[in-house]
């Protein structure tokens, strides 16, 4: 097969480009330690969330110094916590969300940030974020989940250290 010289050049450049892309993503995942949503959590029975000690009482929990875990149930058409009362965490902390669904597929997404995960019945999505200065964020479901999908929203508040109290301590 005779390949034109320019064509060979283009082919080589394309391959280099592709390898660079793969390299940069690999660096992002391995080097910079950007964690992905994956299969780390076990499966869960979506019809028996009330028997699971994380989701029977969805909440914010302190698990270490400046480390928090948040258990969220995303259902048609609410986040609990999130919709009925805001999720609150103190500034400059590390927050891990655990989210599951009792009914259909939803998402748990904080617009304008890369905190974004699918929520699939039977699976628990986990995602760790570092929060900075106090700020109020919205939470939306961006996976179509039924007729009230557009009403499914919540709030996530990063509050000053001295204003933060855990529900349990109130």
């Amino acid at each position: 097969m005779n390949i034109h010289a320019y064509e060979k050049l283009w082919l080589a450049a394309s391959l280099v480009l592709i390898v660079l892309f793969i390299g940069s993503v690999t660096y992002g995942a391995v080097g910079a330690g950007i964690a992905m949503v994956d299969d780390a959590e076990g499966v869960i029975d979506p019809d028996a969330l009330d028997e699971d000690d994380r989701f029977a009482d969805p909440r914010v929990e302190e698990v270490g110094e400046n480390e928090y875990e948040v258990y969220v149930v995303a259902g048609q058409f609410f986040f609990d916590p999130g919709t009925f009362e805001p999720i609150e965490v103190p500034e400059h902390s590390q927050v891990t969300f655990y989210v599951t669904s009792p009914d259909v597929i939803h998402s748990f997404s904080i617009p304008g940030t890369n905190a974004n995960t699918m929520v699939i019945p039977g699976e628990v999505a986990s995602m760790t974020v570092e929060v900075g200065d106090p700020q109020e964020y919205g939470i939306v479901c961006n996976e179509f989940c039924g007729g009230g999908h557009h009403d499914m929203e919540g709030e996530f508040h990063v509050v000053p250290e001295d204003e933060f109290t855990l529900e349990a301590d109130e």
Binding site: M1, L17, I18, D47, N114, P121, G122, E123, F144, G148
Partner: protein, 576 residues
């Protein structure tokens, strides 16, 4: 000088039917696109927000599946018969697959439109991705299954015709358009298997109440096993037109036939083992599997990059044949007044832009920012909504006279039409991309929330809304111009003398320059299957292992309390 209809009158009739079906879908889809634009921006809300999703389901299905696939079935039939210079083996079989595809579409349409009509108790407001446990009426799944079987029979028709030609011409190289049809068909068999299994084995029995529940992650994964490759089912015929028709209307020749074959072989090999890149954000799938899908996806850029080179080189050759000179000066020598050329060229230009936003999507980590936002909608309106749709509309101005014997009513209106589409899409897609970056979700009737606002990096939400509305309206106008032009052309009389000969571009470097192994389709198919097994066996096995073939359930939505369901629950328990 012969036109297609003179040489193949029987095939021309079938192609006319596939085109007209595609155009009906385009008309309804474009109208609903306009409704969506007006609804989301709150300019005008014709339907209840809960019914918005029925509109969106119809828009997605009719445009992404009906319009594209009916049109490409016609294009492939044209390309195959023209390049083999032989009719199909038995045109009754050709009508049979067309009939099955129409029947399937009609069945699926009943509940899709039923959801919009009060008093009809059927619905399919599940969008074109139909993720369980969202549940549609059984007719939706049944129609879909029949439609897909119809496309399989179409592929069988093309293979059958090719084999007949092969017996008559044992020593010839496969002509390029036929080669493209065959590789695409094999690829389609491989990739549509996923959705066929999801629908026939799980979703249809489940909607009938025969299965009590399904595994949402499994059916979702099977959907995306097909859902990404389906993009190439639209793109491969588009590329075929860029390779074999664009150089011709530009006045030149295809740069290299063997490289075009390499591109199609790469598509056959790499398109399917990539679907998991739609599931980067899914829990329950290990990071390693996502990584493999990402790597394959990046390599899948290669055939598109090669296409960009060949297409530009071929067009430049055409321009120089027409007397064009200079470093960039040759651009001026191109037939810009011809809607066929200009439409395809603008479609290709938009595709280059889409390539850029696509690379963002494919990077696993950047994907977190844009997944399921309006950015994605902006992206695929550049790919399927323009690179594919605008190419299909532009070549209609060339193919319609071939299959009807009637010249196009107005080529100037055609030119205005393709330019309007380009301008409208530039406005709409730009605003969608920017909205998505600030977090505006897709698939939402009311992207206005109570507790927070979106703040775009540049400009305001009002500006972005204006871009979407003005762009969407121009697109709708363009679709109306297109359909109107087609309609008026059809009411005119035949005039065969004014229609160019039915032919496609020759190659500067022809098939004889390529090694014979390129035409060994069996070999490529075997490798393609192996690659799919390698990338999918483990993740699918892991998903079944985790949740069970039919578990862990969730609740079907909408909850239909039918008498049939109560009886079938007993059955479901036996199965589960």
């Amino acid at each position: 000088m012969t036109t297609y209809i003179e040489r193949f009158p029987a095939e021309a009739r079938v192609i006319r039917s596939t085109f007209f079906t595609a155009f009906i879908a385009l008309g309804i889809g474009a109208l609903f696109g306009l409704l969506q634009v007006l609804h989301r921006t709150d300019v005008h809300r014709l339907v209840d927000s809960a019914d918005y999703y029925h509109i969106l389901t119809i828009h997605g299905v009719l445009l992404a599946l009906t319009f594209t696939i009916f049109f490409l079935a016609g294009v492939f039939t044209w390309g195959l018969t023209t390049s083999l210079d032989r009719g199909v083996v038995d045109v009754r079989f050709t009508w049979a697959w067309y009939g099955l595809m129409v029947g399937g579409t009609a069945l699926a349409a009943i509940p899709m439109f039923g959801g919009l009509i009060d008093g009809i108790d059927m619905s399919a407001g599940v969008l074109f991705t139909f993720y369980a446990p969202l549940q549609a009426h059984p007719l939706f799944y049944l129609g879909l299954a029949l439609f897909i079987i119809g496309t399989w029979l179409a592929g069988a028709d093309w293979i059958w015709t090719y084999l007949a030609w092969r017996r008559e011409n044992p020593d010839e190289r496969i002509p390029l358009p036929t080669f493209m049809v065959l590789t695409t068909t094999l690829f389609w068999y491989l990739s549509s298997l996923g959705v066929a299994i999801a629908v026939v084995v799980f979703l249809l029995p489940w909607s009938l109440g025969l299965l009590e529940q399904v595994n949402p992650l499994l059916t979702r994964t099977l959907f995306w096993y097909f859902g990404h490759p389906v993009v190439y089912f639209w793109l491969m015929p588009t590329y075929m037109l860029w390779y074999v028709l664009l150089p011709k209307v530009a006045g030149g020749k295809l740069f290299s036939d063997p490289l075009a074959r390499v591109v199609f072989v790469l598509f056959l090999l790499l398109s399917t083992p990539t679907g998991i890149h739609h599931q980067y954000l899914d829990p329950g799938i290990a990071e390693g599997f996502k990584f493999i899908a990402m790597t394959n996806t990046m390599f899948l850029l290669l055939p598109s990059l090669l296409t960009a080179f060949t297409v530009v080189a071929s067009v430049e050759h055409g321009a120089r044949q027409r007397g064009g000179t200079g470093y960039l000066g040759w651009l001026g020598a191109l037939p810009w007044r011809d809607p066929v050329f200009t439409g395809m060229a603008l479609a290709g230009l938009m595709f280059a832009a889409a390539g850029f936003s696509g690379m963002v999507n494919a990077g696993m980590n950047i994907n977190y920012l844009v997944h399921n936002t309006f950015w994605i909608v902006g992206h695929f309106h550049l790919t399927v909504g323009t690179a594919v749709a605008l190419t299909f509309m532009a070549v209609t101005y060339w193919l319609l006279p071939q299959i009807t014997g009637k010249p196009i009513w107005s080529r100037s209106v055609g030119l205005a039409q393709v330019v309007t589409w380009f301008v409208g899409m530039t406005l709409m897609s730009n605003a969608m991309h920017r909205g998505g970056l600030s977090g505006v979700p897709r698939r939402t009737a009311e992207p206005q929330y109570e507790n927070f606002d979106f703040t775009p990096a540049f400009g305001t939400m009002a500006e972005l809304d204006a871009g979407v509305v003005i762009g969407g309206s121009l697109l709708f106008l363009s679709a109306v111009l297109f359909l109107g032009n087609v309609f008026v052309s059809l009411t005119g009389g035949k005039d065969l003398t004014s229609i160019p000969e039915n032919a496609y571009a020759e190659a500067l470097s022809g098939a004889e320059d390529g090694p014979l192994i390129l035409d060994n389709l069996k070999l490529w198919l075997v490798i393609a299957v192996l690659l799919v097994v390698l990338t999918y066996a483990l993740p699918i096995g892991a998903i079944i292992d985790r949740g069970g073939l039919l578990g862990p359930g969730g609740s079907p939505y909408p909850l239909v309390v039918e008498s049939g369901r109560a009886i079938s629950i007993g059955l479901g328990e036996v199965v589960a």
